[in-house]
Subunit: 422 residues, 4 copies
C-alpha cells in the first residue's frame, strides 16, 4: 500500500508547512493536509482555503478537543504528571492525540506516508512519529527538516520567502515573533530565538493565556472543585456561583479564570529526549489548578503506601509522555494501573486563586481515610499510645545494632577495645 | 550507667514540660532540663529561671542554629527534599539536630534517661527517640504522654492546671491558641484543635512568619542567589543591593524577605509515620525560595540521567527524614550520594518574589551542560538532524513489534487472519 | 462483641500451643482450636483428639490447600516474588492464607480474640496479626510469648514440661530436633538452635522435601511447563509422559519431581521485619522450578519496558508479602497490576532437572514478541541497519557534552585553557 | 585533526575484520589495527602477522586483562550486576574496557576515525561507540555493516570469500560454527545461526569454558572466598589447600574450578537495547560463583535498608552497563555510590561446587550486623518482646482504617448501614 504516493501532511497553515506542501507535490506526492483542532487559536477555514489553493488533494480538520481533554489530559491529572518536577507537558499530551487523528486520516485516505514540519532537534518529531509508527507500523515518515536536500536548500527564513514567492505561496502578513510557540487548550509554550539565552528574562508581552500577576484582580477568586475517580467533574465559582460540569467546558473555564488570575507561568530549562538542555516558557492555567487540587484530594483519600507506589508509576508515566511513548505497551499498562489507583479519589477541594498563586483552603470527601477522631489530640480514639513505644523501639533496633557495630569498629581501629564511654 | 536516675528532659518552658519536670522529680529523678535554640522565638533566660525554680538539677541551652542550617537544612536543599510532594519538613529536619544535642548533654551529665513531652500520636516522638536510640543505644526513654499512669492522670488541660497550682508551677499568662504549633528558623507548623476539621479554612491571624499575600508589597522583589556544590553561598537583593553570604545569615535573610512577600504558606493533609492522616498548616518562607532556586540551577547544570537517579534517592531521603531515620545507615549513605551529585551544581539564579509567588527569571552557570549553540534552531551546531530519524526508528521498533502482535492476535481471535486492512 | 471470652487459637498440636490452650482456659477463655491444612505433614485427627481432650470448646480444621496455591502462590509466581534476591517466601505466602481462615472461624464462632504461639522475635507474629487486624479490625490478639506473665513463667523447655505434667498435657514422644521448622506444601524452613551460628554448615539429615543432589538420579528429568496468564496450567514429564493440569496437583507434582532431583535448597541470612538478621535454610522444590520457568516465559513474551515496571512492582510486592502486608491497600493494588501485566505471558518452557540444578532448554509461545526474522544475522528483516548509527549518535550527544564540559573544566582548573590534546 | 585519514580498526584476525581492513585501505585510509587482550583464546602473533601482511599501518595489542578484572568486573561484583535477572554481562563489561584502549591508541596515533566489524542489529556497536564518543567526542565512526555500500556488496559469506580471494586475504582454515561467539576471560557468549530458534536446544558441543554438569566430578569442591570492600581478595580450595589472592589470578582460578564443575551455563532470551528480543547462551563460571558469594556476604554484613537502596542503584547500573553507558555521568555516579556502600562488605563465605550448582554452606565476618544473641530463640538478648505488640498494632492502624472504610462503603452502597456482621 505504501507504494502509492499519498502523504498526509500535518499542516499548520503557516509558511513552513505551506512550503513543505508544495515541495512534496514537486516530488510527485499527492498531499492530504491534516489539521487537528486541539484548542489552538486558529482560522481553520483560512487554512483550508490556503491548502487547497496550494494544490492539496484534500484538507481534513478533526476537532479532537473533547478527546484531548478526556483521554489525554484526564489521565495526566490522575497521574499528577509532571516532567522534571515542573513542566506539565501541554505539548506532550497533545502530540499523541494529534497523531491518532493523523493515522485515522492515513487509513481513510489510503496514504502510506506522513509528513510534518517539526525540526530535527526537538521532541515533537519523536512524539509524532513514535505514535504513528505504533498505530500504523508500516507508515513511512517524511521529515523534511531532517533531510539534507531540504534543509540545505532552506538555510534561513529568507530561503523560505523566496521559495514561497516562486510558488505563489502567500507570505505571512505579521512579522514573525522572535521566538517559536506551540498552543493548544492545555497550554502555550515558547522557546527558541531570544529565549535561547537562559539568563535573559522573558519579555512581558510574550504571554497569551495568562494575565501578568501584577495586573491580576486584587480580590482572590474562590473555587470548589469536585473530583470523582481522580478526575474533575464539577467546578463552582464561589464568588458568582457559576457551575460547570462537562469535561471540555470545565477545563476551558479553569483556563479562563486561572488565566485572568495569572496562574500557571513557568520559566524553566528542561532536558529534551534528544539529549540537549533547552529553555522553555509555559503557560498552563487550568492544568496548574487541577494539578494542585488533584494532589490535595488524592493525599486526602488515598492510602499512604498505595500513593507512594502510584507516584513512582506516575513519575515513569511522565517520562514516557514527555518522550513520546504514549502508544507503548508500558504506557498502556501504567495508565491502567494509575486509573485503578483512582477508584476512591473523590471529594471536593476548596481553593483560592490570587495573583499567580493557588491556595488550598480545605477539602472534604465521603471516601477519605482521614479520621478526625483518631488523629485528635483531645480524644484518644481507637488508639493506644503505649503501642507507639513498642513501635519506636522495634524501629530503633536496627539503628542501635548498626551504631553499636560502628562504635566497636571505631574502638578497635584505635586499639581501644571496650573503652565503653557509653 | 543507666542505673542512676539522672534524666535529660527536652524542656520548652511551657506548661506541659514544666509539669513533667515536677512529675519526674516526684518519681525520684534528677532532672537536667535541655533546650535547643533552633531559632524559635523564645525567652531562654525566663525558661532557665523557671526550670531552676521548679527544681531542675541543671539547665542547658545549646545554640545549634548554625549547625541546624549547615548540617541539616543544607542537605535538604541539595536533595530538594519534600514529603508527599508538598511539605518541606521544617520540623523533621530540626528533630535530629535537637536530639544530637540532647545525647551530648546526656553523656556530659552521665544521664541514662531522656524524657520529652511529645504526644503518642505524632511523628516527633519517633524522630526524637530514633535519633537518641541510634546515637546512644543504651538510653532509656520516658515519654509520659504514652504512659497510662501519666495520661490517665492528666486527661485534660484542667488537670494540668490543677497539678500546676498544687506544685507552684506558674500558669501561662496568655490563653492557649486553639491549635498547637512548632517553630524553628526553618518554619512554623500549626495543627490540632480547630485545624483538625480538614475542610475548615485556617484563620487569617494564625500565621506568624509570613505576611498575607494580599498585604504583601505591590512591587516584586528581585533576588540573585548563588549556589556552589548545591548549597546557597550568596544572596543579593537586586532592589537595594543587600548581600548576605554566611549560611545562617543568608537563611534568616531569605526568611525575612520571603516572609514579607507572603512566600511559603501551605495547607495540607499528610500521612504520619504512625499511619494516620493529619492536617497541617506550614510557613516556610526561606525554604520555599531555596527549593525553587536550587531546583532551577540543578536542572540547568546536572546531567538528565544523573538527576533522575538523584531524584529517586531524594525521594527516599525525604521519607527517611520525615520518619525520623536521620541517624540510620541508609540515611547516612543517601546523604553521601546526594552530596556527591552536587559537585557541579553551581551558578546563579535570578528570581522575583511577588504576593506569595516565586518567579524564576533566568539562570547562568560556569558549569552548565546547557549548550546554546547546540540547541539553537538557527545554528546546526555539532548535530546532524538526520541522526534523529534513526534514533526515532530504532525507538519505534519495539512499539511496532508490539502493535503488530496485538493486531495479529486481535485478527486471529476474530477468525479473520490476515485481514490486512493496513 | 469482644466482651465475650471466646478465643480462636492457632493450634499446631505440639507442646507449645497445647500449653497455651490450657493456660488460656485457666484465664477464663473458651478456646476454639483452629488448624489450617496448608499441606504440612500432620496427623489432624490426632491433633483434634488432643485438643478436645485438653478442653477445647471446639476444633476446626480448614483444608485451604487449593486456595493456598491458587490465591497466594500463583500471584507469587506471576510476580517472580523473591525476598532479598533469594528467599521464595514459602512461609510468608502461607500466613495470610491461614489468617483468612482464622478470621472466618472467629466470625462463625463469635470470637473476639485470637491467640497464637509465635515468638516475639519473628516475622510470623506480624504476618498473622496484620492480616487479622485488617480483616477483622476489632479483634484482640493474645500472643503469650510476648506477655511477661507467660514468658517469665516458661523460661525454658523444662518449664513447659512441668506445666504439661501438671495439666495432663501429653509430652512429645520424639525428641525435639535442635532447630525449629515450619512446613507447608510450598516449602519447609529451618532456623534457630544449632543453625544460629551462621558459619556452621547445616547437617545433612535436616532436609525433608529434597534429596541430597549427590544422591539424586544420574539422569536429568526433562519437563515441559505450559503457562497461561502467567500461571502454570500444565506440566508434562518428557521422560514418562505424565501430564498434570489442575493447580494443586500440578504444584504437588513439581514438588515431587523437584524434590527427588534435589531442587530448591538454600542457606541464607535474611533481614527480618523486626530489624534483626537471621539465618534460615529452605527447601522449595516446586516453587524454584516455577520461578525459573515463569521468568523465562515472561521475558520471552513481555515487552522489555513493561517488564521493567512490572519487576519494580514485584520487588515492592515481595517486601510486602515478607512483612505481612498481604491484606493492605498497597498489596491489593500491586496484585491487581501484576495480574494485569501477565495477560500475554503464555507459552511452553522446556527444562531439565539434574542434581539440584534447573536448566532451561527452550521455549515457545503464540504470543511472543520474539521475532526470529527481525533478530536474524542472515536476514535483514524489517530493519534498516543505518538507523542504528543515528540511534547511537543521538544517545551519545549527552555523553559528548558532558565530557566536553569536564575536559574544559579540567583544563581551566589547570589554567591551561584549550590545551586541545584531542 | 579528523581531517587526516588514519583509522583505528578493532581487529579480530578473522575474515570479517580482515576484509574491512582491506576495504578501508581501498577507500584511502591508513589503518591501525587494534586488538585488546581481554583473556580470549587467541593467537595474537598470527593476527599481527596477518594484519601487517594485509597492509595495516601498524598493529597494536594491549593486554588489558588486569584492568578488565579490577576496573570493570569488580564494580560488577560489588553491584551484583545482572541484566534482566539472569545475564551477568560478560560482553557488556568488556566493551568499555576495549573501547578505552582504542581511544588511547587513537590519541597516540593521531587517528580521527575508528572502525569495527560489529553488526547493525546488536548491542556491541552501541557499547563500543558510546564509550568512544564519550572519551573522544570528536571521533568519527566507520561501521561498515551499517553502510549500504558495504553490506550490499557483502550480502553473504560467499561474497566475503570472493573479496578475500581477490585481495589475498587468507581464508579461514576451520569451517565456521553454525552460531556466532564472543569470548573473554569473564564469559563466552553464543548466539545467531541455529540458536535463533528459541525452542531448539543448544547442542552439547557448543560449550567451551564449562564441563557438562553430567561429566563434572562426583565430589563437591569446597571453597572459601574472602571479601574486602565488596571485592574478593582470597580464594582457598578447601580440598587441596590452593590459595590465590591477586585479582586476575583469582578470577582465572575461579573460572578453572567453576568450569570444571559445570558452573555458570544459561540459555536465555534477552531484550537488546535496539528493541528486539534475542536468544543467547552464556558460560560465566567464575562470575557466577562470585555473584552468589558476594550476595551472601553482602546480606550478612550490610544493613537491610541500605541494601535495598543499593540494590535499586544496582539494577539501574546493570541497565547502563548492558546498554553501553559505562562512560556516562550517571554510571560514574552510580559506581561511586555502590563502591561507597561496600565499605563493610567484608568476610568469608564457604561454598561447595557440585555438578553445575553452587551451595553456600556458611559465612563469617568481623563486620557483620548479624547478632547471634539478639536473634536467638533461647536468649532474650537486648530485646523486649512486648515491644513487638506495639510495633504490630501501629503497623496495623492504617490497614484497619482502610478496611473499616471499605466496609462502610460496601455497606452504604448496599443500603445496609451498620449491618455489623463483624
Amino acid at each position: 500500500m505504501s507504494e502509492n504516493k499519498i502523504v498526509v501532511l500535518a499542516y499548520s497553515g503557516g509558511l513552513d508547512t505551506s512550503c513543505i506542501l508544495v515541495w512534496l507535490k514537486q516530488r510527485g506526492f499527492e498531499v492530504v493536509t491534516y489539521m487537528a483542532n486541539v484548542g489552538q487559536d486558529e482560522d481553520f477555514e483560512a487554512a483550508e482555503k490556503k491548502a487547497m489553493m496550494l494544490g492539496a488533494k484534500k484538507f481534513v480538520c478533526l476537532d479532537v478537543r473533547r478527546e484531548f481533554v478526556e483521554e489525554f489530559i484526564w489521565p495526566g491529572v490522575q497521574a499528577n504528571a509532571v516532567y522534571e518536577d515542573r513542566y506539565l507537558m501541554g505539548t506532550s499530551f497533545a502530540r499523541p492525540c494529534i497523531a491518532r487523528g493523523m493515522v485515522k486520516v492515513c487509513k481513510e485516505e489510503g496514504a502510506g506516508y506522513i509528513a510534518h514540519g517539526a525540526t530535527g532537534k526537538g521532541n515533537d518529531q519523536i512524539r509524532f512519529e513514535l505514535s504513528c509508527y505504533a498505530l500504523y507500523p508500516q507508515v513511512k515518515v517524511i521529515a523534511p527538516w531532517r533531510m539534507p536536500e531540504f534543509y540545505e536548500k532552506f538555510r534561513g527564513r529568507q530561503d523560505l520567502f523566496e521559495f514561497a514567492k516562486e510558488n505563489n505561496i502567500p507570505l505571512p502578513v505579521t512579522p514573525k515573533s522572535p521566538w517559536s510557540m506551540d498552543a493548544n487548550l492545555m497550554h502555550i509554550s515558547f522557546e527558541s530565538g531570544i529565549l535561547e539565552d537562559p539568563k535573559a528574562e522573558a519579555p512581558k508581552d510574550l504571554y497569551l493565556m495568562t494575565t501578568d500577576p501584577k495586573d491580576a484582580p486584587e480580590q482572590p477568586l474562590r473555587l470548589e472543585i469536585d473530583f470523582k475517580h481522580g478526575v474533575p467533574v464539577k467546578v463552582k465559582n464561589l464568588e458568582d456561583g457559576t457551575v460547570v460540569t462537562s469535561a471540555l467546558e470545565l477545563y476551558l473555564y479553569l483556563n479562563k479564570v486561572g488565566g485572568s488570575h495569572g496562574i500557571g507561568r513557568i520559566d524553566i530549562v528542561e532536558n529534551r529526549f534528544i539529549g540537549m538542555k533547552s529553555r522553555g516558557i509555559y503557560e498552563t492555567p487550568g492544568g496548574t489548578i487541577l494539578f494542585q487540587a488533584h494532589m490535595d484530594i488524592e493525599v486526602f483519600t488515598m492510602d499512604r503506601e498505595l500513593r507512594k507506589i502510584k507516584q513512582s508509576l506516575s513519575s515513569k508515566f511522565s517520562d514516557m509522555v514527555y518522550r513520546g511513548f504514549w502508544d507503548s505497551p508500558e504506557c498502556e499498562f501504567v495508565r491502567h494501573c494509575i486509573d485503578k489507583s483512582q477508584e476512591c479519589v473523590e471529594g471536593t477541594v476548596t481553593l483560592a486563586l490570587y495573583k499567580g498563586g493557588i491556595y488550598i483552603l480545605g477539602r472534604e470527601s465521603p471516601l477519605s481515610l482521614y479520621n478526625e477522631e483518631l488523629v485528635s489530640m483531645d480524644v484518644q480514639g481507637n488508639y493506644d499510645p503505649i503501642d507507639a513505644g513498642g513501635f519506636i523501639k522495634v524501629n530503633a533496633l536496627r539503628l542501635q545494632e548498626y551504631h553499636r557495630l560502628r562504635k566497636k569498629m571505631g574502638a578497635e581501629q584505635n586499639g581501644k577495645l571496650g573503652t565503653g564511654d557509653q
